[in-house]
């Protein structure tokens, strides 16, 4: 009964932890009257991901950011303390390819215009430790072989900021769709190549223009060159945007690598299955991959080269220096079918890569910092570092242990999931 009573209270204040922890915000007061809110996770084993693991350390949050990490940090007066001794503190997991989390529809238009900050999928994502997701509208390229082809259409990077619509969208659009390159025929490829050629030409002209401008050698009334309708390609070549393209087989991957060698840019290969057959080539291209270690593609014995999927793919790519993110076979919150293969169990997918020989450090990176990097938000998200967003999770065990549950989830410094008080999973106790 106590638990139930607690859960009511929790539900009612779900997402209003801010209000609980601070005196009521008064908008009429000046900003300088606002006191910073401090929250501390005290005594946990902190996996920073980028700067090693600190045992029995404290993470101090100031407002929405990570303020300090370490041992014996002085806590300011009024700090809300969470005793997490004996538990793990990690950055929130990042789902680098996902559908439907916090999205209220499947229609067209801007994804940020159809978010539902109160949706059950947001609550379940938080309960699964996911604090950020790269989302796409609709089914993109559809389901192939049990997983989704992510094509960058109507894409956004979204935080699972329950109840806070304004804090959800981090980046939009989040990627440029290059599927025309792999999925189209020669004429479509020619079109893509021509656009990149134009973009390169523009950049050269712009460079020349800037140079002459700085030397005061411009012609009278000379205007800066125009991009001529290839803004996206220009952004890609300048490294200001990420390309996304589905590439499962070695052939598809090679075709993409060809484009990348002609036009170097940041590119994410989605749904990579046969990457293990050409790891060095991918490594040289600096392309990112998104893998699903549990995905199986059967070997075609009629093809006279290694082919099909391999459980060792992640480990092999790692040795070749390829950076990758990991997503499960069903990149959404899936309450139907067989359990354990959707985003409710993201770390288990990474654990499967460990089973195939990948080191645990890279495996954890593949669902935190690398995942954040390949969706373009690693400056804010993906590791526990001072100044980064306070998106943190507290686990009751090893992240790759199937018995482990998420105890607490913080997004932007707010406690948005507490297993003890939430209706989700609070009945499941670890023995």
């Amino acid at each position: 009964m106590r638990r139930i009573a607690g859960s009511i209270l929790w539900l009612l204040t779900f997402g209003s932890a801010w209000a609980q922890e601070t005196p009521k915000k008064d908008d009429t007061k000046k900003d300088d009257a606002k006191k910073p809110v401090y929250v501390a996770l005290v005594g946990g084993d902190v996996t920073t991901v980028t700067k090693g693991t600190l045992r029995g350390a404290t993470v101090l949050i100031k407002d929405s950011k990570i303020h300090r990490i370490g041992h014996g940090i002085p806590l300011p007066d009024g700090t809300v303390q969470h005793d997490v001794r004996g538990r793990r503190v990690l950055p929130g997991f990042v789902a680098c390819s996902a559908y439907g989390l916090g999205v209220s529809g499947w229609g067209g238009g801007k994804l940020s215009d159809m978010l539902d900050p109160y949706s059950e999928t947001v609550q379940l994502a938080l309960a699964s430790g996911i604090t950020t997701a790269y989302l796409e509208l609709g089914f993109g390229g559809g389901f192939f072989g049990g997983r989704t082809m992510s094509l960058g259409q109507g894409s956004a990077v979204v935080k699972m900021a329950y109840g806070r619509l304004d804090e959800m969208t981090v980046l939009e659009p989040a990627a440029v769709d290059l599927s025309a390159w792999t999925q189209g025929g020669a004429s479509q490829r020619h079109g893509v190549r021509e656009k990149f050629g134009k973009a390169r030409e523009y950049l050269q002209k712009l460079d020349d223009f800037e140079k002459r401008k700085s030397q005061n050698r411009l012609k009278p009334n000379e205007q800066a060159p125009s991009t001529g309708g290839v803004e996206q390609e220009v952004k890609l070549l300048k490294g200001e945007a990420l390309a996304r393209v589905s590439a499962s087989t070695a052939d598809e991957i090679r075709v993409v690598l060809q484009l990348l060698s002609d036009f170097p840019m940041k590119c994410v290969l989605v749904g990579v299955d046969e990457g293990w057959t050409l790891p060095e080539e991918i490594g040289r291209s600096n392309a990112y991959c998104i893998l699903t270690p549990r995905n199986r593609v059967y070997r075609d014995r009629g093809v006279n080269r290694p082919n099909g999927s391999s459980i060792e793919q992640a480990a092999i790519l790692r040795k070749a220096g390829v950076k990758f993110g990991i997503v499960p076979t069903s990149p959404m919150i899936d309450l139907d079918g067989i359990a354990g293969r959707d985003l409710l169990n993201l770390p288990l997918e990474a654990a499967f890569a460990v089973r195939g020989g990948l080191d645990e450090q890279t495996a954890i990176e593949s669902i935190t910092i690398t995942a954040a990097e390949l969706i373009g938000v690693s400056n804010r998200i993906g590791s526990i570092e001072e100044g980064k967003d306070a998106d943190l999770i507290v686990l009751d065990g090893d992240p790759f242990d199937y018995r482990t549950f998420v105890d607490l989830t913080f997004v932007n410094g707010r406690l948005l999931y507490d297993k003890e008080k939430s209706p989700y999973f609070s009945h499941l106790k670890r023995k």
Binding site: L11, Y118, G163, L165, P423
Partner: protein, 417 residues
Amino acid sequence: MLALLAAALLQEAPKTPDEVTAITQVRAIPISGSDIESATIVIKNGKIAEIGKDAKVPEGATIIPGKGLVAMPGFVNAYTAFSWSRSMGGGSTPQNLAFDEFNPALDIFDVLPRTGFTTYGIAPGGGVIAGQGLAMKLNGLPKEQMVVSRSAFLRIHVRADSSVKDMLRREFEAAKKHLDAEKKYEDEKKKYEEEKKKREEEEKKKKESGKTDEKKDEKTQPLQEPKPPQKPDARMQILVNALKGELPVVLQAESPAAVAHFWQILETLEGVAPRITYLCASEAWKAADRFGEKKATVMLLPRLEFVPFTHDRLNTAAELHRAGAKIVFATAGGYDAHEDFLSGVAEMVKYGLPREAALKAFTLHAAEVLGIEKSSGSLEAGKDGDVVLLSGDPLSATSRVTRVLIQGRPVYEEGKP
């Protein structure tokens, strides 16, 4: 026309409005002030002339003995869909009037007063920006006299959907442009008037001092009267009025997410001040803190819910009230729902909603939704003589409505046909 005739025939001939009625020795719950143990309520010309402990009964007044009874202002149901037309439009049709699809001769209107309800908001059917709702009283008069306001509120129906949001954004931005142009014109006009006055005075002084105006001051430029901006069409004018807060808005939202998106649109429009009542179909409790922060008015059914996955009671109204929101109760149902209304409200009080907030929720605060709070929603001198007499406390399960007056006219008396 037939409908009007029927409505007129169905009702008894209304009594002349200049009749004076006095309810005596009644326990009054005026809503606008504290309860009065033994009050006299005097109704003259359809309006409350006086209410109080010491109010005098005028000579010749029809006396209604109120001893042992409780008097309340007529209940207001601010949002119903009575006589929605079957053609449900889509998109943005703010010019549509519920008045044009409203049928005053519905059978249910004859029996609703016996549940204590006297005043209704009737929403227009239709799409996202659906149209204007009306406010009316069940006074048994012809349609034109029944309707208090043909344009009581603008109904907007939203989902968390990009097409809906795009459309609202487009419409509101267009309305905002008109609003800005209007403001700019008013500022310029003011400046112009001031300058004109100044110059006229100077002219006068010059004349008085006897100086002839031989040399015109070349520096002063001729005054140009600012041109008024192009008037928005009737359709757009309604949106402009809504943004100004002159026409109340009832925002019907499929989910709290839809409300959050609506707020995002409003935040981009600086300087607008719409008066909004939120009608959140479900899960409003999830956004209780946000509604509270905004001191929003939220319209609900007086009904307890369950905390998801449990059988624990969830009192949305109490949670919203605690967070700082203003509560309005309404019911969209038929006669049965009206009959059960008070027990629903009593349940809300039983489980945490303060009594005062609960009583205001279907009287004064409901009248505010319709923008008719100056004439309805409480027992105050000058307001309409809409009085409900009950056999006991309104929130007691054993109380009955015994008598109802609307604008001073008796429309229901227990035991009489």
